[in-house]
Each structure stands twice: as structure tokens, then as C-alpha cells.
């Protein structure tokens, strides 16, 4: 039981899909943006941990990671942002998302301790498939932080069993083969896949990678997803127009998601 469980239970009781926003730590005025996201309609926040080699990301998030690193952002800095957020927002779940190496370098046990202290609820490591996440998963489970696993269009029923085993919080369904921000999969396929993943894992399913507009988010929400994730579009809005522009987009998508479900 952590903030993710409570939040998804509440969303279910309200009979609506949740809205998960992704931003990159250290790209722009992250502290201000984080602080304002819940009021703008974010149900869950994913905070990107910048990495030099973001293999699963498209151009928008790649560029954001490099900007963040150029601004001096580190994993320690990302945890400090989380800590600052948590002090003011006791209920909104916060999930860190990124790649394994900085976490590995920090040390899995140290990271678990620091993340728990900072009020983090979940971790997504794109390049840690179930086969490789045991050590980190156990360290995080001890402090009640979920490892969020990914399922993709190539994840067949056999693999779904592997993904389900040890998963907690929610499952992140990647709607298309490809990198972040490159266009979503066909809506009917996504709805079908969401049902398959829900059944196999018994967990809420958030759909992301390539959802950019309020209309697309609404489509996904009405297709049975427990939550919709928007990343690249918010990251781009933040870079192009700053915090205010990013928050406007978040509000519009949030309204569309609420209206749809």
C-alpha cells in the first residue's frame, strides 16, 4: 500500500481515468512546475532522471535530458526536487523515471533509502527488464516503493506472466513500438491490449509513449485505460513556452481526460 495504490483506488471509485504527467528534472523551472502540477490536474507525476544515453526516448526527451545535464542536474538533485515536492504535497504519487546506470552508480540500497526519504512512490527504469531488476526491486520493496514495469505491443501472453510477477503500483503500457513522443498506436489495438494487460497483471494500466493532445488522451481514457501518460508534449511545451505554457497544456489534457471517462 502506497500513494499509488490509494490514488488508483480513488480513481476507480470516481470512475474515471487518471492523468500522469512526465517532466524532466532540471529542464526549466522544475521545482515550480512540479509544485503546480497537482492543481493543474496531474493525478500522478513522473519525474525524469536525466541520462546521457536515453535509448528509449525520442528527440524531445533526449534534448530535455541533455539540457538538464548541462544545467547541472544529477540524481541527487532529482531526489532533492522530489523531497521539496513531497513536503508540500503529501498525497500526489511521485514516480521517478529513467535509466539504470545512475541508479546503479548511486548503489541500489542507497538509492532505495534516499528515494524513500524523499517521498518517492515508484521507479521506472526503462532498461531494467524483469530479468534484471531483482536486486533493485527487493531493495525498493523493503521501503514500500514500487518498480513499475513496462508492457509493449511485442509483449506476448507468455512474457506478460513474467512482467506481472513482482510488479506493483501500476503497469506502464507502451502504446506503440518505438521511442517516446513518436505517435501512438491505433486506438482499438490499445484498448484490446490494455484489457489483456489488466487481466494478466491485476494491476491498473497507464498508457503512454506518443500521446500528445487532449483529444488523443481522451480517446485512450475512454478505451478503458486506468490512466493516460503524457510526456514529450509537456516537455516540449515547457521548453518552448515555459512553466505557464506547460501548465495550460496539462489543464487542457486533464479536462479532456476527466470528460472522457
Amino acid at each position: 500500500m502506497n500513494r499509488l495504490t490509494t490514488t488508483f483506488a480513488r480513481l476507480k471509485a470516481d470512475n474515471r481515468a487518471g492523468f500522469v504527467t512526465y517532466i524532466m528534472a532540471g529542464d526549466g523551472e522544475t521545482a515550480d512546475l512540479l509544485d503546480a502540477l497537482p492543481a493543474a490536474g496531474a493525478d500522478v507525476i513522473e519525474l525524469g532522471m536525466p541520462f546521457t544515453d536515453p535509448m528509449a526516448d525520442g528527440p524531445a526527451i533526449q534534448a530535455a535530458a541533455l539540457r538538464a545535464l548541462d544545467n547541472g542536474m544529477t540524481l541527487r538533485g532529482t531526489l532533492a526536487l522530489a523531497n521539496q515536492f513531497r513536503a508540500k504535497h503529501p498525497d500526489t504519487p511521485l514516480v521517478l523515471m529513467g535509466y539504470a546506470n545512475p541508479v546503479h552508480h548511486f548503489g541500489y540500497a542507497n538509492f532505495a533509502k534516499a528515494a524513500a526519504k524523499a517521498g518517492v512512490d515508484g521507479l521506472i527504469c526503462v532498461d531494467l527488464p524483469p530479468e534484471e531488476d531483482t536486486e533493485l526491486r527487493e531493495a525498493l520493496a523493503a521501503v514500500n516503493i514500487s518498480i513499475i514495469r513496462l508492457a509493449t505491443p511485442t509483449t506476448n501472453d507468455d512474457r506478460l506472466k513474467t512482467v506481472a510477477e513482482g510488479s506493483s503500483g501500476f503497469v506502464y503500457y507502451v502504446s506503440t513500438t518505438g521511442v517516446t513522443g513518436m505517435g501512438k498506436g491505433a486506438v482499438t489495438d490499445v484498448a484490446e491490449a490494455v484489457k489483456r494487460v489488466q487481466t494478466a497483471t491485476g494491476l491498473p494500466v497507464a498508457v503512454g509513449f506518443g500521446v500528445r493532445t487532449p483529444e488523443e488522451a481522451a480517446e485512450i481514457a475512454s478505451g478503458g485505460a486506468d490512466a493516460v501518460v503524457v510526456g514529450s508534449a509537456i516537455v516540449s511545451a515547457n521548453h518552448d513556452g515555459g512553466t505557464k505554457t506547460a501548465l495550460e497544456l496539462v489543464s487542457r489534457i486533464s479536462a479532456a481526460v476527466r470528460a472522457a471517462s
Binding site: 546521457t52 528509449a56 540524481l75 532498461d127 530479468e131 534484471e132 505491443p153 511485442t154
Partner: protein, 404 residues
């Protein structure tokens, strides 16, 4: 040969691990692909027809076996141990890279894949992949850092002549590791039809094992040739290390010959005490990149640092996981050579042996020189001359201040 229970050559295990290195650190989209590739490779490896076809092409298309040559004048010049060169620079396309490309493209064909992709730094692996893809009529796309595209224009043209499409990668800093990131991004986007030909013993399992197996023809031939020519094994086998494929190919057949020292030479660039080197084992720490756990050049935050070397084939910030393992269990020794030493050896070998070495094996020669003195006249050194220097001539001329 029967393998002892704790033999060095028994790795990787079923999880693709060499001790605590290796593994499969890839996005979920690729996991089914990686598992399918592993299975297809196991099948192919057990199929005598696959091996026969591989060996036939190695012989008639690549030009194997490559000679084992006694470098009499280098030996005399250094005044120590005998130096024997395994002449893989005589292969078609001028380096060892094609051994691996041939194996992987044959596997791609067997798996019914219709599209080949590859990453390349200097362009040697790109050229070798484009060559084999052309031979088998498969469309080929090569990802190359934009910085490297500019630096290596002749190889870009070669790849285009061979019918490949070259993507100049501008993401990240536009070098080899970014090219590999971009190839992985392409692979997650088109997982069904694509075969990714990785150019060294890195990447997720089964690549480090598979590339090693295809390159092991180097060490198998050399071992046999040594026995045939001088009736004994060398005291040391030496090879340069970028990602470590030519070294792994040379070392693997000698792993159980514990009297044979195995020596890998990393690129020390401007010196290990400067930030400008590419020595992952001598100057890095264990980490996770490009699908495996291995030694990496990284900063205090776990961010990857660009490698630097005079030789574009050596400036990769990682090293194959099997080398990381052999390093930690001390079966192999890993030393380094600087840009200046490589440049000196490049010229020396050209003048004394009439062999213009690639800048990569020129690094090995610098440590072979020390080793020759250490072992003395009774010693025997086997060195992999893994590539020829034609590709480096314009760059070396520039560095020596000569207009060509």
C-alpha cells in the same frame, strides 16, 4: 577439448552473464526479440549446414585463413621475443570486422529478417556490414554519428557505393555511442523485420557471446598455425580493445591454455591521467549501458563520458562484458597505449615490415615492444594485426603535417 568444471570458457551462463557482467538490459519492446535471437542463434550454432556455409564464405569471400607471419624485422628492432602477426588486416574490407558481419547476416537470412541495421564509429564495421548485406541482397542502414560522418567521409562514400543508407546521427554528441543509441531506437521501432548487426562483443545477450564465437576463428586459426609453424603456443597473445571483439576472438580459443598470457591494449588517448582516453577497464567503473553490465567511462553521477582516442575504432566508453569478467578474475591483463605511441608504431611498422597497420593495432605494437623486452629472445608473442591502415592514411598525414 573437454572443459573443466570451473573453466573460463564456460561463460556466459543461461542469463547471458560472465560472472557479474553481461546480461540483458534492454527496453521491454526488445526483450521478445532478444530472446528469439538467442534461440535462433542456438539453433544455427547446432546446425552443421549453417557452420558449413559460414566457413565456405569465410574461405572464399573473406579470404581466410589469414596468414600467421613472423615479423622478423620488428623482432630484430625491438631485440627481444619473437613477434608473430596474425594477419587479419588481409581480410576482405581490411579488418576483422567482416568475420562477425558475415555470421550475423547469415543468421538474419536464416531468421527471415528483411532489413539490416548497424552502428559504426570510424566506418569499418559499417563498411563490413554494408558489404555483406550487398552480397546477400538485403537492404542496409547504417547509423553513424554526425561528427564521425564528417571525419570519415571516404567510408561514408564506400557504404553508399555498397548500397547502404547512412544516417548521420545528431542526437547526443554525435559519436559512436550515440550511433548505437540511435540503432537501438530504430530497432525498438521496427522490431519484427529488423536484424541489428552489432559490431563488437557488447550489447545485450546473446551478442557478446555470438560476436565472440564468430570472431573466434581468429584465435582458432592462430593456435593451430602456431603449433604447426613452431610446435608450441605463444607466451602471450596481444590485441587492441575498442569494444573488444578482435581481442575476444583471439583470446577465447586460448582461455584454457593457462600458460598463455592474454593481454588487451586499451586506448590511453592523451594519457590515463587526463580526461581524454578510452580505457574503460583502466579508467572506468562497472555500470549499465547498451544492454549489458560492464566497465564504463562515467562521472560521479553515473553519466557516460565520451571516450577519446586518435583511433576512431577505439573510442567507445564501454568494453565487452567478457573482458570485464576476465579482468576481474585476472585471466587476462589489460594495459594501454597513448595516441603518440600509436602514431609512432604506425610509422615504425610501415617502415620495418612493409605493413601499414590500422591505428587500432598500432596501439598493440607499443605494448608488444615492452613485452618483447620483458620476455627476452626465448619468448614468443602472438599479436592480432586486426586491420590495415589505409583508412587512417589521410588522418595520419594531417597529424604529421603533410598535405595529401
Amino acid at each position: 577439448m573437454t572443459v573443466k568444471p570451473n573453466a573460463f570458457s564456460q561463460y556466459p551462463d543461461a542469463q547471458g552473464r560472465f560472472g557479474e557482467f553481461g546480461g540483458r538490459y534492454v527496453a521491454e519492446t526488445l526483450m521478445p526479440n532478444i530472446l528469439a535471437l538467442e534461440k535462433a542463434y542456438e539453433d544455427a550454432r547446432a546446425d552443421p549446414a549453417f557452420t558449413a556455409e559460414f566457413e565456405d564464405f569465410l574461405k572464399h569471400y573473406v579470404g581466410r585463413p589469414s596468414p600467421l607471419y613472423f615479423a622478423e624485422r620488428l623482432t630484430g628492432h625491438f631485440g627481444g621475443a619473437q613477434i608473430w602477426l596474425k594477419r587479419d588486416e588481409l581480410n576482405h574490407t581490411g579488418a576483422h570486422k567482416i568475420n562477425n558481419c558475415l555470421g550475423q547476416v547469415l543468421l538474419a537470412k536464416r531468421m527471415g529478417k528483411t532489413r539490416i541495421i548497424a552502428e559504426t564509429g570510424a566506418g569499418q564495421h559499417g563498411v563490413a556490414t554494408a558489404t555483406v548485406a550487398a552480397r546477400f541482397g538485403l537492404p542496409c542502414e547504417v547509423f553513424m554519428g554526425a561528427t564521425d560522418v564528417k571525419r570519415q567521409a571516404p567510408n561514408v562514400f564506400r557504404m553508399k557505393l555498397l548500397g547502404a543508407k547512412v544516417h548521420a546521427v545528431t542526437s547526443g554528441r554525435g559519436t559512436l555511442k550515440d550511433a548505437m543509441n540511435e540503432a537501438l531506437r530504430d530497432w525498438v521501432t521496427y522490431p519484427d523485420e529488423t536484424f541489428y548487426v552489432i559490431g563488437t562483443v557488447a550489447g545485450p545477450h546473446p551478442y557478446p557471446m555470438m560476436v565472440r564465437d564468430f570472431q573466434s576463428v581468429i584465435g582458432r586459426e592462430a593456435r593451430e598455425q602456431m603449433l604447426e609453424r613452431i610446435g608450441r603456443l605463444p607466451d602471450a597473445a596481444v590485441a587492441c580493445i575498442g569494444g573488444g571483439s578482435n581481442a575476444m576472438g583471439l583470446f577465447h580459443p586460448f582461455l584454457e591454455d593457462e600458460d598463455v598470457r592474454l593481454i588487451g591494449v586499451e586506448a590511453a588517448g592523451k594519457g590515463l591521467d587526463t580526461p581524454d582516453h578510452a580505457a574503460s577497464l583502466n579508467g572506468g567503473e562497472p555500470g549499465i549501458l547498451h544492454g549489458n553490465r560492464t566497465y564504463l567511462l562515467q562521472d560521479a553521477d553515473g553519466q557516460i563520458i565520451e571516450g577519446h582516442s586518435i583511433s576512431a575504432g577505439l573510442d567507445y566508453p564501454g568494453i565487452g562484458p567478457e573482458h570485464a569478467f576476465l579482468h576481474d578474475v585476472k585471466r587476462a591483463e589489460y594495459v594501454s597505449a597513448t595516441d603518440d605511441e600509436a602514431l609512432e608504431m604506425f610509422q615504425l611498422c610501415s617502415k620495418l615490415e612493409g605493413i601499414i597497420p590500422a591505428l587500432e593495432p598500432a596501439h598493440s605494437l607499443a605494448r608488444v615492444r615492452d613485452l618483447a623486452m620483458e620476455l627476452g629472445p626465448d619468448g614468443i608473442i602472438l599479436m592480432n594485426m586486426c586491420g590495415r591502415g589505409d583508412k587512417d592514411v589521410p588522418q595520419v598525414a594531417r597529424m604529421l603535417g603533410v598535405e595529401v
